[in-house]
C-alpha cells in the first residue's frame, strides 16, 4: 500500500496523493478581439441589413462575450473540470442526494439523433417513438411505486412536490374545501415547507418522536378538517423506515386528509416495498437520484408525480393516451386538471436516461440495487458507531445519520470533519441536515460503492476521529490538500460580486 508522510497527517492517506492542476483565469480574461472559435455555414440566401429590418429594435452594442479560439475553450473547461470532485472519481456520500453511478449508455441513447432532435410540437403521429419512451417509463414507474396514475412533467423533486400538493389541493377543492394547512415533520427537507407555502397552505410543524419518526398521538391531535395533507419522507431523512406508515395513513384519511410521500429516498425501497401498497395517496420520485440520471453539478433533474386513481383527473395537462390500435397521443381536454407546471412535456432527456437504467436493471437488478444500498449504509454504521455518536439507533435503511456530539468536546463540528474528509480524498457527507439532529453527519453511500471504497471511507473517518482527539487543529484547518481552502463566504454574501465586469 502506498504511503505519504507529511506533518499535516497523523495517519496515512491511502486514497489520494497531491499532484498539480493547471490554473485558469476567467474566460473573459482570456478574450482578445479578433480570435474566433466559430465559423458559420455559407449563407445560402441573400444577406440582410439588420438595421433596415429592425429599426430602433436593432442592437447597437454587442454584449461583452469572450472571444477565444477553439483550443483555448477546450483547455478552459478541461482545466476547470479538473478542479471538481465527481462520482467518476470516487465515493460521494451526500446523504439524501443518492449520488450513484451514472451509466454512460444513458448518455449515448439520450443523444440518438431521432430522440435528441425531436421538436416538442412535432405532430403526434411523427412522435410515436418519443411517446413509446414516455409510455414505457410511466408503466415502469407505476409498477415500482404501486400507484395508479403518473405525470412526468415536473422538472425536479421540488417541482414534483409542487405538482403533488396542487393535486391534493384540487381534490380538496372538488370536495368543497381546499383546507388550510399542510403538516410537515421537523425532519423534512426544506423544499417541503417551501412548496406548501407556494401552494397557498399554512405549514404546520410536526415534532418527531424520540426515534425521529412520527408521533402518532401528536399526529392524531394535530390532524383536523383543515389539514390538507401530511408530507412524509419515507424512509425518513434519518434513513429510517416509518413502520407505522399504515396507521399514519389511517389517521389522515379518517379526517379526510391525504398522505403525500416525498420519494427522494426511493432508493431504499425499489423492488422491496411499494408506497401505493402502504397507504400513500400521492408522491414524487427523483429520477436524478433513484434512477441514475446525472446531477450535472446541480441539475437537470426530473420529478415525476404518481398518485392514486381518485387524483388522476387533476393531473397536469397534457396526459398521454393510447387508442385501440396502440397509436399514442396527447390529451389536453382535461377539465379538472391543475393546469400546466411547465412548458412542453418535461425533461424528456431524463426520461430516456431513467428508462435505460430501468431496462439495464430489470426486476432482479432493481431489487439487488436496493439491497446493496441498504447493505452499504449499514456497513458504514457498523464500522463507525463506536467512534461517532448515533442519535437514533433505530435500524438504518439506505443512509445513516451520526452527530458530532463527541467531536464537539474538542471544538470540532460536523462541518470541520467534512472539510477534513476532503484531505482524505472523499466528497463530504451532507452537513447539518436533517435539523432534528444537531451537528448531523448524513451519510448515504448508495449501492455504487465497492467494499474497498467503503473501507477506505471508514478508515478516513476513523483517522479523523483520532485526529480530533490528538490534534484537532489539523481538522479545524482542513482542507490542506486542495487548490483553494476555506473560502470567505461571509464577505461573499456581504459584498456580493455576482458577475465579472470589464475593467
Amino acid at each position: 500500500m502506498e504511503k505519504e508522510k507529511t506533518e499535516k497527517f497523523i495517519g496515512t492517506r491511502h486514497k489520494v496523493r497531491s499532484h498539480q492542476t493547471q490554473n485558469e483565469a476567467l474566460v473573459f480574461e482570456k478574450s482578445s478581439p479578433g480570435k474566433r472559435a466559430y465559423r458559420l455555414a455559407q449563407l445560402d440566401v441573400p444577406a440582410v441589413d439588420p438595421a433596415a429590418l429592425l429599426g430602433d429594435a436593432v442592437r447597437s452594442q454587442s454584449g461583452e462575450l469572450p472571444e477565444l479560439s477553439e483550443i483555448e475553450i477546450i483547455r478552459h473547461f478541461t482545466r476547470l473540470s479538473t478542479w471538481n470532485y465527481a462520482i467518476d472519481l470516487g465515493m460521494y456520500p451526500l446523504g439524501s442526494c443518492t449520488m450513484k453511478y451514472n451509466p454512460r449508455v444513458n448518455e449515448l441513447v439520450a443523444r440518438i439523433e431521432g430522440l435528441a432532435e425531436a421538436h416538442p410540437y412535432r405532430p403526434d403521429f411523427l412522435a410515436q417513438g418519443q411517446l413509446d419512451v414516455i409510455d414505457l417509463l410511466q408503466e415502469c414507474l407505476l409498477e415500482i411505486t404501486g400507484m395508479d396514475a403518473i405525470t412526468l412533467q415536473p422538472a425536479a423533486g421540488a417541482h414534483g412536490e409542487f405538482t403533488g400538493i396542487l393535486l391534493t389541493r384540487a381534490w380538496h377543492e372538488s370536495q368543497g374545501n381546499p383546507r388550510r394547512a399542510v403538516l410537515i415533520p421537523d425532519s423534512a427537507h426544506g423544499t417541503n415547507p417551501a412548496t406548501a407555502a407556494i401552494c397557498g397552505y399554512a405549514v404546520e410543524n410536526l415534532k418527531s418522536n424520540s426515534n425521529g419518526g412520527i408521533d402518532l398521538e401528536a399526529l392524531t391531535r394535530q390532524v383536523d378538517e383543515q389539514t390538507a395533507a401530511l408530507m412524509l419522507t419515507n424512509p425518513s431523512t434519518i434513513g429510517v423506515f416509518e413502520n407505522q406508515i399504515h396507521k399514519i395513513a389511517d389517521i389522515l384519511h379518517a379526517k379526510g386528509a391525504l398522505l403525500y410521500m416525498d420519494g427522494a429516498n426511493m432508493n431504499a425501497l425499489c423492488g422491496k416495498t411499494r408506497p401505493g401498497d402502504f397507504g400513500v395517496d400521492v408522491m414524487h420520485l427523483n429520477l436524478h437520484k433513484t434512477f441514475s440520471t446525472p446531477h450535472g453539478g446541480g441539475g437537470p433533474g426530473c420529478g415525476p408525480v404518481a398518485c392514486k386513481a381518485f387524483l388522476e383527473p387533476f393531473l397536469p395537462i397534457p396526459v398521454l393516451v393510447k387508442d385501440a390500435n396502440g397509436e399514442k397521443s396527447w390529451n389536453y381536454d382535461r377539465p379538472h386538471s391543475v393546469g400546466r407546471v411547465r412548458a412542453f412535456f418535461g425533461n424528456f432527456g431524463m426520461f430516456v436516461r431513467a428508462l435505460a437504467y430501468i431496462l439495464a436493471n430489470g426486476p432482479d437488478g432493481l431489487r439487488q440495487t436496493t439491497e446493496d444500498a441498504v447493505l452499504n449504509a449499514n456497513y458504514i454504521r457498523a464500522k463507525l458507531q463506536d467512534l461517532y455518536d448515533l442519535p437514533y439507533n433505530t435500524p438504518s435503511m439506505h443512509e445513516v445519520v451520526f452527530s458530532d456530539r463527541r467531536q464537539m468536546k474538542n471544538g470540532v463540528r460536523t462541518g470541520d470533519i467534512a472539510k477534513r474528509l476532503i484531505d482524505y480524498g472523499f466528497h463530504p457527507y451532507t452537513v447539518s441536515f436533517p435539523l432534528i439532529v444537531p451537528g448531523a453527519l448524513m451519510i448515504e453511500p448508495t449501492e455504487s460503492e465497492s467494499r474497498e471504497e467503503l473501507d477506505l471511507f471508514v478508515d478516513a473517518m476513523r483517522q479523523i476521529a483520532r485526529e480530533v482527539e490528538e490534534n484537532p487543529q489539523v481538522v479545524l484547518d482542513a482542507p490542506h490538500s486542495t487548490r483553494v481552502s476555506r473560502l470567505d463566504e461571509t464577505t461573499a454574501a456581504r459584498k456580493p460580486i455576482l458577475r465579472w465586469r470589464k475593467p
Binding site: L26, V27, K35, Y38, P46, P50, L53, A57, G63, L65, P66, E67, H76, L80, I87, D88, L89, V105, E113, G114, H119, R122, F125, A127, G129, Q130, V133, C140, A155, H189, T191, P193, A194, I198, C199, F241, N243, H295, G296, G297, G298, P300, G339, R340, R342, A343, F344, N347, F348, N361, G365, V374, K383, P395, F433, R451, E489, A493, L498, R499
Partner: protein, 449 residues
C-alpha cells in the same frame, strides 16, 4: 447486475461484519404485509446492446430526417461539437451542486461565467444560476415582482407564449394573485398599448411581456416600460428565443428578464431539459429565486467562487424562501456557457443575422404564394412570422409532409381568432432548397381539389 461493484461473497462477508444473518434482516422493519415478495412486472434485465437497439428503434419511428419550420419556444440551432465533448467529462457530468467549494471550483467558476454572460446579453446587472425553463422562470419572475412591490396583481400580454401563460396561471392560482391578460394589436401583432395603459393600476405588481413575442414580433419595450413604470409597476420581459439578443436591442428598461436559454447549444430533445434563467436589476438581488455564485478569496488570498446569499433559499428559509427550487438546470447552463464562449461577441451577432436572413427569405418565398400573406405588418420581427393562407393548413401540411417537411404551427389551437394562421420559424440550419420546396408545395393545387 453490471453496475453493482460486489460479488456475492463480498455481500456475505459484509453481512457478517454487520452482524446480520441475511439481507432480509436489514429490511425486517418493513411490515410483513407490505414487503414485495414477487418480481416487479417490468421488462427483464437487458444487455447494453439490447438497450441501444431498443432506443434506436423507437428513435427511428417516422423520423427519417424531416426539415421543420417549427419554433414557438423550442429552436433548432447548430450545436458545436465541443459542447458535448466537454459536458460529458465526468468531472462536470457526475458532480453535485457545488456546496463544497474546495472541490467544486470548476462548476462554480463556470456558473459565475454563465451569470456574467446572461447579464451582458440581457443588459441586466445580475443573473441566477438557472431555473427549470422559460415558463417556470416567467412565473417565478412574477412572484419575485410581487415580493418586491408588495402588490398583488399582474398584467400579462396575450402574446406571451401560451404555455408560459398556462404555467403562470398554475403558479398564481393559489397565491391570491389575480392577472389581467392584454390582447394584441391586430395590424402589428404587438401588445395593445391602449388596453395595457388602462389595465395597469397602482395595484399592479408587474407587466409581463415577451419579446420577440409568440408571433416572432419584437415588442416596443420603451413604450411598455413607460406605461408600467409610471404606475410603479415592474416590467418583466420574457425571452423565448435567446439568439435574438445577438441582434435585437436588449430590454434595458426591464426590471426583470426571464429567459429560456435552450437556443444556446441545447438539443430540442422533445421539450427538455432546457434552461431558464432570471436576470434583474442589482437592487432586487435579495428577492432573486434560485442559486447565485459569488466571487471571493480563500485563506491564502486565491480568488475563488462560492454559492452565496443562500438565506434566500429553501434549505435555510424553508416556508419563507424566495422559491422552493433546489435542483436546477446546471449542466444545461454549462452547455449554454460553452456555446456562448464558442460564438462570442461577434459570432452571436453573425449567427443572429443569418437567422434574420433565412427568415426574411422564407417570408418572401411563402408570401409570393397566391392566397398566402403575412398576418401582421409594420413591426420588426426576428426569425418567426405568422402566415395566413386561404387554403386550410391541414391540406398543405399533407403536401409538405410528402416532401419530409413539417410546416408552420397552427395557431388557432391557442388563438381561435387566428383561423388558417400558422407560425413559421427558420433558423440558420434550414437550407434554402427546402424553403423553396415548401413554397412550391404551398402553391401547388390541393391533392384533393
Amino acid at each position: 447486475m453490471r453496475y453493482l461493484p460486489k460479488s456475492d461473497a463480498e455481500r456475505a462477508a459484509m453481512l457478517r461484519d454487520i452482524g446480520a444473518a441475511s439481507i432480509d434482516d436489514l429490511f425486517s422493519i418493513i411490515p410483513e404485509e407490505y414487503r414485495l415478495t414477487r418480481d416487479l412486472a417490468i421488462p427483464r434485465q437487458m444487455g447494453e446492446s439490447e438497450i441501444v437497439e431498443w432506443f434506436r428503434n423507437s428513435a427511428a419511428k417516422y423520423t427519417i430526417r424531416h426539415t421543420s419550420f417549427l419554433g414557438a419556444g423550442a429552436y433548432r440551432h447548430y450545436r458545436p461539437v465541443v459542447i458535448d465533448s466537454l459536458v460529458q467529462r465526468g468531472e462536470f457530468l457526475t458532480s453535485y451542486t457545488p456546496y463544497q467549494a474546495e472541490i467544486s471550483q470548476g462548476t462554480l467558476q463556470a456558473i459565475f461565467e454563465f451569470q456574467t454572460m446572461i447579464c451582458e446579453l440581457t443588459g441586466m446587472d445580475i443573473a441566477n444560476a438557472s431555473m427549470y425553463d422559460g415558463s417556470t422562470g416567467a412565473a417565478e419572475a412574477v412572484m419575485m415582482a410581487v415580493r418586491i412591490t408588495n402588490r398583488h396583481h399582474a398584467v400579462i400580454a396575450s402574446t406571451v407564449h401560451p404555455e408560459y401563460r398556462e404555467v403562470l396561471a398554475t403558479y398564481t392560482k393559489h397565491q391570491s394573485l389575480p392577472t389581467t391578460t392584454i390582447g394584441y394589436d391586430n395590424t402589428t401583432g404587438r401588445i395593445d398599448l391602449r388596453a395595457l395603459d388602462e389595465a395597469v393600476t397602482g395595484e399592479t405588481a408587474a407587466v409581463l411581456i415577451q419579446s420577440p413575442n409568440f408571433f416572432g414580433i419584437i415588442e416596443d419595450i420603451p413604450a411598455v416600460a413607460d406605461i408600467a413604470h409610471k404606475k410603479g409597476a415592474l416590467l418583466i420581459v420574457s425571452i423565448a428565443e435567446a439568439i435574438s439578443l445577438g441582434i435585437v436591442r436588449p430590454p434595458f428598461e426591464a426590471d426583470i428578464v426571464s429567459m429560456e436559454a435552450q437556443s444556446f447549444g441545447v438539443a430540442l430533445s422533445y421539450g427538455g431539459p432546457y434552461c431558464g434563467v432570471i436576470a434583474a436589476k442589482e437592487k432586487y438581488v435579495r428577492q432573486m429565486p434560485g442559486r447565485l455564485v459569488g466571487q471571493t478569496a480563500d485563506r491564502n488570498g486565491y480568488r475563488g467562487f462560492v454559492l452565496t446569499l443562500s438565506t434566500r433559499e429553501q434549505h435555510i428559509r424553508r416556508e419563507r424562501a424566495t422559491s422552493n427550487i433546489c435542483t436546477n438546470q446546471a449542466l444545461v447552463a454549462l452547455m449554454a456557457t460553452i456555446f456562448l464562449t464558442i460564438y462570442g461577441k461577434e459570432g452571436i451577432r453573425e449567427l443572429a443575422e443569418h437567422n434574420l436572413a433565412k427568415s426574411a427569405y422564407t417570408a418572401q418565398a411563402l408570401t409570393a404564394v397566391p392566397g398566402a400573406r403575412l398576418r401582421f405588418q409594420g413591426a420588426p420581427r426576428f426569425h418567426e412570422f405568422v402566415l395566413h393562407t386561404d387554403e386550410e393548413p391541414a391540406a398543405w401540411h399533407r403536401r409538405l409532409r410528402a416532401e419530409k417537411i413539417v410546416g408552420g404551427l397552427e395557431l388557432n389551437r391557442w388563438y381561435p381568432e387566428l383561423e388558417n394562421d400558422t407560425l413559421w420559424c427558420t433558423t440558420e440550419i434550414v437550407p434554402r432548397e427546402k424553403i423553396d420546396i415548401a413554397a412550391k408545395q404551398l402553391a401547388a393545387l390541393p391533392v384533393e381539389a
